[in-house]
Amino acid sequence: MIRNAFSRALVAGRAGFLQVAPQSASVAGCRHMSKVAESDEQLTARYVQYFESKDIDHWWLSKHINDLAGTDAVPEPDIIKACLHACRRLNDIAMAVRFMEIVHFKCGNRVKEIYPYVLQEVGPTLNELGIPTPEELGMDKPQLALEDVYDM
């Protein structure tokens, strides 16, 4: 079945390839063909719901964090709190610290205005769960150097 599909796709060319793709790419129920305008509150509520689900696993946590990073915006404090609680349920502090780094990165060049506000909103959750911020760990500056593959 795989071989036939492969040769069929090659024969049909690029158009056939594109036709096949959406049918098997139905992940997370998002529609690729129609434009659905979602408000910020809806997006926030959706992601809070994702992170608050009781049986979240590493796969979905990674996927939702990567999608959230893909929206290329600073997540609302509610989403951040829900994500940190999800990391706690999964016993993964590395993901929590990485997520705080992501939030810092998404602030862009207005990090001095936005990040203190984020820390102010999310600070109680960080203290409650015992998650150090990247600054406290010294990770806001580079610590280790990685040799470039082109220099090896």
Binding site: M1, I2, A5, F6, R8, A9, F17, V20, A21, Q23, S24, A25, S26, V27, A28, H58, W59, L61, S62, K63, I65, N66, A69, G70, R88, N91, D92, I93, A94, M95, V97, R98, E101, I102, H104, F105, L129, G130, I131, P132, P134, E136, L137, G138, M139, D140, K141, P142, Q143, L144, A145, L146, D148, V149, Y150
Partner: protein, 195 residues
């Protein structure tokens, strides 16, 4: 430039996955024979070893890559050794009991570079600027070599001032370029250069 380990059949694997009618939940992360249940590509080495798969990653292959736009890669960076296992047990308890060094250990076990390290300046601009200036200086040296050893002397119609004067006089007599050029600089009534 990033440290990543890519499965051998990345492109073909993605092509095959799109063609086969597997649902998203059943789509495995690699195209090895073992993962696809007997069919699929033969003898693809599972290169991520014992490292725990934590997600889809950026292309569905179990690789590690530091990217600011896909911050959580598909696999952890390091395999679990005895030391890390101890820390993971401790991680199940209260996080306030973890020291900063232990948190860093756990972070480095999952991630290779922090965001600060990913975005740190490489200093490559110095290499590029230096290389460009070196190339320009070689070009200048080549020109000087040509001037000294290759080109002949300038002809005396240029070097001899009497001949140059005669040529300019001819240009004035012929009214060459009278609007903006040389004849426009000559005052024909007074018979001298305008100032």
């Amino acid at each position: 430039m990033e440290m990543h380990i890519v499965s051998m059949a990345t492109v073909t694997g993605t092509l095959l996955r799109r063609c086969s009618r597997l649902s998203a939940a059943a789509a495995p992360l690699s195209t090895s024979a073992r993962a696809l249940g007997g069919g699929g590509l033969p003898t693809v080495v599972e290169r991520h070893g014992n490292r725990m798969v934590i997600g889809y990653g950026f292309n569905g292959e179990p690789n590690y890559i530091d990217r600011v736009d896909y911050p959580i890669p598909a696999v952890r960076f390091k395999e679990d050794n005895a030391q890390i296992k101890v820390l993971r047990e401790k991680e199940r308890g209260d996080w306030k009991k973890l020291t900063k060094e232990e948190v860093q250990e756990l972070y480095r076990a999952t991630f290779c570079r922090s965001f600060a390290e990913m975005q740190a300046p490489t200093g490559e601009w110095k290499l590029v600027l230096g290389g460009t200036m070196l190339a320009c200086s070689i070009a200048v040296w080549i020109y000087l070599f040509m001037k000294v050893f290759v080109y002949e002397k300038l002809p005396d119609t240029i070097t001899n001032p009497e001949k140059v004067e005669a040529q300019v006089q001819r240009m004035i007599d012929l009214r060459m370029n009278p609007v903006q050029g040389i004849a426009s600089e000559w005052d024909y009534e007074k018979g001298q250069w305008k100032n």
